[in-house]
């Protein structure tokens, strides 16, 4: 069961980040040409695979309880930041993420960056930075999820599947994937990261969960209830007109 949830969490997190990276790469490709953008993407993916390849096996040699304590705590802090933003967005206290608006802003910025060249370093740099920084969160999730579960490969499979799905969708659409319910996906990722973080941090701290591994489902249920409860409470209490879109 853990394995299924692990792959699902890695898939969701990777899909969300890759939709954002795709928006940047599309903007670079359309305005500056695909050659340099492609090299930027390839270099970023190479760097990310190197990070996962270096850190994944290193974590496998550490004692599991210490690893889960540290990884669970970091994952919980990281996950709560996602969840906090998702709750604020859903309750109208923070602007929704809008891929179309981001795409338009990227296009404007890239047009200001000078004319096209055969080896366009500006396009390379923007594509590399977009994919690398968005991908770093995915790499972090793969390494932490995989490390705590002693199965980096499984988390990597979930992320690779997301890469293929987003890539195929991007090639077909040839436009930002604005119809992907990105804000809802982020909500889901925040819930998964926080739930795994609670479960592993507590296990690493010496807690015995009632029902052992099955209690992870209970933790996910508690986090879902808490999140939707907070959204409902904040919607009622939010100042009128706060739910604007960027």
């Amino acid at each position: 069961m853990h394995s299924v949830l692990l792959v699902a969490a890695a898939f969701l997190a990777a899909a969300v980040e890759m939709v954002e990276a795709l928006t940047i790469v599309l903007a670079v490709g359309v305005t500056r040409g695909w050659r340099s953008a492609g090299w930027g993407v390839a270099a970023a993916l190479f760097a990310l695979i190197g990070i996962i390849g270096a850190l994944g096996p290193a974590l496998a040699n550490l004692p599991i309880d210490d690893l889960r304590l540290v990884i669970g705590t970091v994952l919980l802090i990281f996950g709560l930041q996602w969840l906090r933003k998702a709750i604020l967005r859903s309750s109208g206290l923070k602007a929704q993420h809008d891929e179309d608006a981001i795409y338009r802003a990227e296009i404007e910025a890239l047009r200001d960056g000078g004319g096209r060249r055969v080896h366009d370093w500006y396009a390379f740099k923007v594509a590399f930075k977009g994919v690398f920084l968005e991908g770093l969160e995915v790499a972090f999730i793969i390494v932490t999820f995989g490390g705590a579960q002693k199965n980096v490969g499984l988390a990597a499979i979930g992320s690779a599947a997301a890469l293929v799905v987003v890539l195929v969708a991007g090639v077909i659409a040839h436009a930002p994937l604005s119809r992907v319910p990105e804000n809802s996906l982020k909500f889901g990722v925040g819930i998964m990261l926080s739930s795994f973080g609670i479960f592993w941090a507590a296990e690493g701290a010496g807690v015995s969960w009632p029902g052992a591994d099955a209690s992870l489902l209970g933790v996910i249920g508690i986090v879902i209830l808490l999140s939707f409860g907070l959204v409902a409470a904040m919607r009622r209490a939010a100042p009128h007109g706060a739910a604007a879109l960027t």
């Binding site: 802090i77 969840l83 906090r84 309750s91 609670i198 941090a201 507590a202 808490l226």
Partner: protein, 86 residues
């Protein structure tokens, strides 16, 4: 030196993000959980309850700051914290 501070800033923003009190509170709750678990008492409810309190408090602070901002003059946007990719 500048590179080092940028590197540190990046990781701080990456993991800790907009509200450092969440990180501090999570570390404190995990420490309490470990202490209670090692003393042989029931410890599993501490972390879920702690997370519920920490998250509620953080979201509530944003609401309160927006209420404060919108009270004197209406029309302030929903930007209590910076953007970020998450």
């Amino acid at each position: 030196m500048k590179w080092l501070s940028q590197f540190g800033r990046f990781w701080y923003d990456f993991i800790v993000g907009d509200d450092w009190t969440i990180a501090a509170a999570v570390v404190a709750v995990v420490a309490v959980t470990a202490a209670v678990a090692h003393s042989g008492h029931l410890a599993w409810p501490i972390l879920p309850i702690g997370v519920a309190v920490v998250l509620s408090a953080s979201v509530w602070r944003v609401l309160r700051s927006q209420r404060g901002a919108s009270a004197p003059s209406a029309g302030h946007g929903p930007h209590a914290d910076n953007g970020g990719s998450r």
